[in-house]
């Protein structure tokens, strides 16, 4: 299967991109020269131009900013070390304000005007969903989505989701609830949006698959709305359900608010929350308001956040983006970059789209923050292994302590 | 003569204040009828009841143009004009951002029959109607001696002219009865004289009945055939200008006793 390295003109015909006239205009000329590497858009001997799209302004900038910074930090580091096979990575960033129409424009601009080699780390479900068709039609590789939308696993061969989707995480939560917490009754407080609803669906599915549907009653699935400031009702209801595990499927601010309310009413049971909250800045924000109950909190994790593993990230961030926090979003951006680069390394000089996709189909990347990222033809699950960490107090600070191994459902 | 407007036992109060108190009067068809009284006597309130801006506490108001009889209470404010009753306001209410011509055309509103979609698609019937309305408005402007300012903004006209425009806006609506609230306010002596002539001319030429409230006794005495004087919402006198002028109650409440009204 190593022929992939020596793609010739014929092989490039298989490249979905060939349909697109401008990407391979000089087909014939290349055929005359014998073993010349066929580059796709954006790739050359010295550089690879790629693009990314995400929210950089408006109320959701708090996601996109560290995310882009994480990605850029990795590329900066790689470039500083000489690039990948001598090729520097050029990242073109586009702000879509988390709006589907702007995201479509951004993708069009990257694909048709900038003619990038790949889209890396497209952030935000609405934008990703709106532009999926364009990306699919063009056949350009798209690596990593800052989106937990489950449908992306079936989007097509040129898509490489990495981050576990929320449904999958929910399923794993259900499994852990049984295996680790021996739960006989669960209550779930979830954020009433794409994130939380997918997560809840996953939990319900997972419990069903395990034959444990009865541990989570419908009345114990408690929604909160993004932006809510008062969690009395959810916590009161959760408390009166008398569960032995509380799953909080929410993002930072809301989760912190819920923890404060739990602290207030002294509701002392184990809690499990999503990987979105598995970062130090979440703890810094949430722990002062709930110093007692926060040690009951467990988080899912798909990344190895041990100090040793995080060191390159922390160093690079300190070097390039000292004022941007290192949180789950930064790590996500970093992993997006890692994954893309791993694919480039695997592809070697065969930087046609088909070549890259083929290389990704043989990827088994284990050196990064995520325990293992791999794809095979037709399989686009992304990361499927997650572990649980628990919050513990160390001197005055709170940190995560890994509790289990990385497991799949 | 038959009366075009019959007001019976009209009462209206605001909180504890009786602004109109069991007032009855009737206006004969084709006449010019004056309603006068001290400030705060309730004149404008009566007008507001007749034109349905206020809902009176009590009373019957019958409007009988031509052969029909309408109970005014059955009509909403915007419907009153369709049965032939138009009014002006004490504090001129012109449409400030419209030109003089457009303001007049507003008076034609209820006579233009084309529907919304017809207007949007600008069917021939629409532009015929618009043309007709424009012509009519120009005729009225001509009649009022206002030709030449039709494309200026109504708001930039001096107060007196604004009053005339408002008058024109009622005329264009083919009314049977016009009610005028202080038409001469803000006009000087010469202008008031001209207005008096105009009011009579309107009555004669357009065949409308006119009911007016006015504090300028010169005008009232000149044009009104019959006058009703109210004070604190109650009628204190009714009669011809001469009779009213000599009525001691009226003098005490309204005109002032000692000398003539004007120098």
């Amino acid at each position: 299967k190593k022929e992939a390295d020596s793609t010739n003109g014929d092989k490039a015909k298989d490249n979905p991109a060939t349909e697109d006239s401008h990407s391979n205009q000089d087909d014939n000329k290349d055929e005359e020269k014998p073993v010349k590497v066929e580059y796709a858009n954006g790739a050359s001997d010295s550089a690879i131009k790629i693009g990314t799209v995400g929210v950089q302004s408006g109320p959701l900038a708090f996601i996109g900013t560290p995310y882009f910074a994480g990605m850029e930090a990795y590329f900066n580091k790689v470039n500083e070390e000489g690039g990948v096979n001598g090729r520097k990575i050029e990242l073109i960033k586009k702000d879509d304000e988390f709006k589907p129409d702007k995201s479509v424009q951004a993708i069009e601009s990257l694909v048709f005007d900038e003619e990038v080699f790949a889209i890396v780390g497209h952030l935000g479900t609405p934008g990703v969903m709106a532009s999926v068709d364009i990306v699919k039609e063009e056949g350009i590789p798209s690596v990593y989505f800052g989106s937990g939308a489950a449908t992306l696993t079936e989007a097509g061969e040129n898509f490489f989701p990495v981050q576990p989707n929320y449904v999958y995480e929910g399923k794993l939560m259900a499994k852990y609830a049984m295996d680790e917490f021996n739960a006989s009754k669960i209550a779930v407080i979830y954020r009433n949006d794409d994130v939380g609803k997918d997560g809840l669906d996953g939990i319900v599915d997972g419990l069903k698959a395990l034959g444990k549907s009865d541990v989570l009653a419908a009345s114990d699935q408690l929604a909160y709305n993004a932006g809510d400031t008062d969690f009395t009702v959810q916590v009161q209801k959760a408390k009166s359900a008398n569960p032995d595990l509380l799953i909080i499927y929410g993002l930072g601010g809301g989760t912190a608010g819920i923890l404060k309310e739990i602290e207030k009413v002294g509701f002392n049971i184990p809690m499990l929350t999503t990987y979105s909250n598995a970062d130090a800045s979440f703890l810094a924000m949430a722990s002062p308001g709930a110093p007692n109950v926060i040690t009951n909190l467990h988080v899912m994790g798909w990344l190895d956040v041990s100090e040793a593993k995080l060191k390159p990230l922390n160093d690079a961030m300190a070097k390039y983006f000292a004022d941007v926090p290192v949180n789950a979003y930064t790590m996500a951006g970093w992993v997006a970059a890692e994954t893309f680069v791993a694919g480039v390394k695997q592809a070697g000089d065969n930087l046609s789209w088909a070549g890259y996709i083929d290389a990704m189909n043989h990827l088994k990347f284990t050196e990064g923050l995520a325990p293992e990222i791999s794809y095979t033809t037709g399989v686009r699950e992304g990361v499927t292994q997650m572990a649980i960490s628990r919050v513990v107090q160390q001197d005055d600070a709170f940190i995560f302590e890994l509790l289990t191994d990385f497991n799949a459902f | 003569m038959k009366s075009i407007l019959q007001v019976d036992n009209l009462s209206m109060s605001f909180g504890g204040l009786k602004a109109v108190d069991r007032l009855s009067f009737s206006v004969e068809t084709g006449s010019i009828y004056g309603l006068i009284g001290p400030n705060g006597a309730g004149k404008t309130t009566v007008f507001n009841c007749i034109s349905r801006f206020y809902k009176p506490d009590n009373g019957v108001m019958t409007f009988c143009p031509d052969q029909q009889t309408y109970n005014l209470m059955d009509y909403k404010v915007h419907e009153v004009i369709t049965i032939g009753l138009a009014r002006t306001f004490q504090n001129v209410e012109l449409i400030k951002t419209m030109t003089v011509l457009e303001n007049l055309m507003m008076g034609m509103h209820s006579q233009l029959k084309c529907g919304i979609l017809m207007q949007g698609f600008h069917l021939p019937s629409v532009w015929r109607e618009e043309k007709m309305a424009k012509k009519k408005a120009m005729d009225i402007l001509d009649f009022l001696g206002l030709k030449g300012i039709e494309h200026q903004l109504a708001a930039s006209q001096p107060y007196g002219i604004q009053k005339l425009i408002e008058l024109g806006r009622t005329l264009i609506a083919n009314p049977k009865l016009i009610i005028l609230d202080e038409p001469a306010a803000g006009m000087n002596g010469a202008e008031t004289e001209a207005l008096a002539k105009l009011i009579k001319k309107i009555r004669d030429q357009y065949g409308v009945t006119i009911l007016l409230v006015e504090h300028d006794m010169g005008l009232v005495m000149e044009v009104c055939e019959k006058i009703c004087v109210i004070s604190f919402g109650k009628k204190i006198a009714e009669g011809t200008p001469e009779a009213i002028q000599d009525d001691p109650a009226v003098q005490e409440a309204y005109l002032g006793k000692e000398d003539e009204v004007h120098a």
Binding site: S57, P59, A61, F62, T65, P66, N192, L222, A223, Y224, N225, G227, D228, T229, D230, T232, V233, Q234, Q236, K237, S240, G252, G253, A256, G257, K260, K264, V265, G266, S281, A284, M285, A286, S287, P288, G289, D323, V324, P325 | T44, N48, F53, F89, Q90, N91, E93
Partner: protein
Amino acid sequence: MHVFFQNVIAGLETGSLYALAALGLVLIFRTTDVINFAQGEMAMFSSFIGLKLFTALGIPYPLAFMGTIIFAICFGYLVERVFIRPAHKANVVSKMIVTLGLVMIISGLATALFGIDSHYLRKAITLDNFNVGGVIIQPNALFIILITIAVMSFLFYLIRKTLFGIAIRATAQNETTAKLMGIPVGKITASSWIIATVLGAIAGLLIAPTTNVSTTMMGEVHLKSFIAAVIGGFGTFYGPVIGGVLIGILDNLVGFYISLKWKTVIVYALLIIALIFKPTGLFGKNHRKKV
């Protein structure tokens, strides 16, 4: 039963926060007829200042609180001078657009200066909670409710009983005539922007322990404060307070007894229906222009 009371007490606290935010809004509305869309952003900015004073400079909380208020005074003055006054000839809707522009400027500035992280800020009162028959009451919540009542009474007095207050109302009704009467319209407007900004800062600092300090901290609160102001009626100062408390409590009761998912819809629907019956708010008087 104590669950009911717990919900009501919490609703009262959250509602008071909405009310506090609403009062600044109402003041500006009463002076200039403008809906200040930037009220929330301004409160957010002031809160960041409070946070920085308290955490970065290590100033004791009460002093940091005072410092924030002093900042808010300057801030309000600056905003009025630089953005609002130059537009004083524009119509009301245009002025509203100016405040929309302000939203962008302030939130952009806050992002540039303070970053996009959320930060914890302590409560004003950190005494232990008390437990009244199973209902947990936070001293801080009582403090918030008290402050709300105090601010409301202050504004009521200011607007109803002082010449300054009459001048504010006169300016709102007719600026040109107000000038003709010798009212320094510019100063009056500036003062009310200053007071409103201070109110925003107080609201922000008190909300911060609940929402954390971040560029988005006021989003939902701001929206609810609009609704609170309208439900209670712009005409009075107790109206918006009752409006805010009503929203806070209804939100919890509907969430608890009817549906968490649909509570927003239900509460808003209830409020809109209430408005249809009381078009100028529950406590508003209907001033119709006399013809």
